[in-house]
C-alpha cells in the first residue's frame, strides 16, 4: 500500500503553476527523497501533501485519506523550515503541548522521553528562547517524532543542523524506517538523503523529471540524477 499518493496535482500561485500534474507515490516503509533546484516546487509539494494548502487540481492521499482528515493528520509528522516550537515556553511545555494536541495518553511522559532521546533532558525546563540553535533543532525533531507518526514529511531536514543534530536525526530516521515508517523528504543535501532513500523524485520547474528507485550510482555520485535527468542531462 502507498502511504502517500499524489495524483495529477497542480498548484497555482495566481496564474503561475508551481506544481504541474505531479504524480508520485511513497510506498509504506519507504523513503522518498524529493530533489531539485531552488524553485523546483519541492517545498510547495511537501506543504500541499501536509495539507497546509489545497491543490488547485488533483488528489493527495495519506493512507487513503485526504491530508486534512483528522486521522491522516494524526499519522503525519512534519518538519518544515521553522522549528515550530514556542520561544516563550520551556522545552517540556512545548512537547507537552503538542502531546496534548495529538491526544497522547500521557503527554508529559512522552515529552520527557523525547527530551531524553534528543539529549535535551537537562534543559527540559529551560525556555526555548535561551536555547542554542542546535538545541532548538533537536527540540524540533523531538516535536515531529513525539506522536510516533507513520509518515514523516521533512522539508530540508538536514539544512543548518549541527553535527549532533544531524546524527540524532539520521539515527531517528533509520530507526523509523526499520519500524516501517514512511519518509518523504525534500533536500539539497543529497549525500545524507540518498543514504536513507529507497526512492528518488527529481522535480524540475514543478514537474516530475524522474521518479524511480534509489540506485547505487545515485548513492556513490549524488550529482548523477541531476546529470542524467535534470536540465541539460
Amino acid at each position: 500500500m502507498n502511504a502517500v499518493a499524489v495524483d495529477g496535482v497542480w498548484k497555482f500561485y495566481g496564474d503561475f503553476p508551481a506544481l504541474r500534474n505531479i504524480r508520485l507515490e511513497a510506498p509504506e516503509g519507504g523513503c522518498l527523497a524529493l530533489i531539485g533546484r531552488n524553485g523546483a516546487g519541492k517545498t510547495t509539494l511537501l506543504r500541499t501533501i501536509a495539507g497546509f494548502s489545497r491543490p488547485g487540481k488533483g488528489r493527495i492521499e495519506i493512507f487513503g485519506k485526504e491530508p486534512r482528515d483528522i486521522q491522516a493528520r494524526r499519522r503525519m509528522g512534519y518538519i518544515g523550515h521553522g522549528i515550530s516550537v514556542y520561544d516563550e515556553l520551556s522545552a517540556l511545555e512545548n512537547l507537552t503541548l503538542y502531546g496534548k494536541l495529538y491526544s497522547l495518553p500521557d503527554p508529559h511522559r512522552a515529552a520527557l522521553e523525547w527530551l531524553e532521546r534528543t539529549g535535551l533532558a537537562r534543559v527540559a525546563h529551560g525556555l526555548v528562547r535561551e536555547f542554542s540553535r542546535g538545541m532548538r533543532q533537536r527540540l524540533a525533531v523531538a516535536r515531529a517524532f513525539l506522536h510516533e507518526p507513520s509518515v514523516l514529511l521533512l522539508d530540508e531536514p538536514f539544512t543548518a543542523l549541527d553535527d549532533r543534530a544531524i546524527a540524532v536525526l539520521q539515527s531517528l530516521l533509520r530507526d523509523g524506517l526499520a519500524q516501517g515508517k514512511t519518509i518523504v523528504m525534500s533536500t539539497h543535501q543529497l549525500r545524507e538523503a540518498l543514504e536513507l532513500a529507497t526512492h528518488v523524485a527529481l522535480l524540475n520547474r514543478g514537474q516530475v523529471a524522474f521518479l524511480g528507485p534509489c540506485t547505487p550510482e545515485m548513492v556513490s555520485d549524488p550529482g548523477y540524477v541531476y546529470a542524467r535527468y535534470g536540465e541539460g542531462g
Binding site: 495539507g51 486521522q71 493528520r73 494524526r74 512534519y78 522549528i83
Partner: protein, 226 residues
C-alpha cells in the same frame, strides 16, 4: 469532550505565552489608560455629559485597545512557523479558533476591567450602579469584538500590513456590536437598568455574537488552509 479539551489546551497555551512576554497586554492596557486619561482632559466633565458619552467613549477605547491584543493572536504563531505545526496537528480548525478566541476574550476583558475603575475616577462617575447588567454587556460586547478580531487575525496573519488591515477590516463589521454595547453601557452607567427601551440592543448584541461565532466556526478551516 475531546473538542473542549483541545480548546482548553490552545487557550492555556496562548495565555501562558502572553503572560510570559506581556507584549500585547501591556501595549493594550497602556493604550487604554492613556486614551481614557487624555479624553478626561478634553471633555466637559458634567455628570450628564459624561453619562451621555460614557458608552461611546468606553467601547471605542475597548475596541482600539482590544485590536492590539487581537493583532497578536495569530501573529504569535509566525515566529518559528508554529502555525504550520498547529495546522498539521489533528485538531479541528474550530477548536483552534475557539481556543484562541477564549484567550483573547480573557485578555481583552482584563484590560476592560482595569480600565473601568480608571474611567470612574477620572470622569467622576459612579459606574457600578447596575454592575451585574453592565458585566453582562461587557461580556457580550467583548465576545463580539473577540470573535470578529480572531477570525480576521487568522485571515490577515500572512499580510505584511496586518496591523493596519485588521482594524480596517474589523471595525466596519463590529459596528452593530459596538452600537448595541455603547447604547446599553451609557444607560447602565447612568443607572438605568435594561428595560423595554434598551432590551432590543441586548437582543441584537446576543444575535450578533451567535451569528458571528457560528460563521467563524464554519469559515475558519477555509481561512487557515484555503
Amino acid at each position: 469532550m475531546r473538542f473542549a479539551r483541545l480548546v482548553w489546551v490552545v487557550t492555556v497555551k496562548d495565555l501562558r505565552a502572553e503572560l510570559r512576554t506581556k507584549e500585547a497586554i501591556n501595549a493594550s492596557l497602556g493604550f487604554a489608560l492613556v486614551i481614557l486619561i487624555l479624553f478626561s482632559f478634553a471633555f466637559e466633565r458634567s455628570i450628564e455629559g459624561v453619562r451621555e458619552i460614557s458608552g461611546g467613549l468606553l467601547w471605542i477605547v475597548f475596541a482600539f485597545a482590544g485590536t492590539l491584543i487581537l493583532n497578536r493572536s495569530f501573529a504569535r504563531e509566525l515566529p518559528n512557523d508554529c502555525l504550520d505545526a498547529l495546522i498539521a496537528a489533528p485538531i479541528p480548525g474550530s477548536a483552534l479558533f475557539l481556543g484562541k478566541a477564549f484567550a483573547n476574550f480573557v485578555l481583552v476583558l482584563a484590560v476592560e476591567l482595569v480600565s473601568l475603575p480608571i474611567f470612574g475616577i477620572f470622569y467622576n462617575v459612579q459606574w457600578t450602579q447596575q454592575l451585574p447588567e453592565l458585566m453582562l454587556v461587557l461580556l457580550l460586547g467583548t465576545w463580539g469584538l473577540t470573535v470578529i478580531g480572531t477570525i480576521f487575525s487568522a485571515l490577515t496573519v500572512n499580510i505584511r500590513l496586518r496591523e493596519v488591515m485588521l482594524p480596517m477590516l474589523t471595525y466596519p463589521i463590529m459596528v452593530p456590536a459596538l452600537l448595541g454595547a455603547m447604547q446599553l453601557t451609557s444607560a447602565l452607567v447612568a443607572g438605568t437598568p435594561i428595560g423595554p427601551d434598551t432590551s432590543s440592543w441586548l437582543k441584537m448584541l446576543i444575535g450578533f455574537d451567535l451569528i458571528y461565532t457560528a460563521v467563524s466556526l464554519v469559515l475558519v478551516e477555509t481561512v487557515l488552509v484555503g
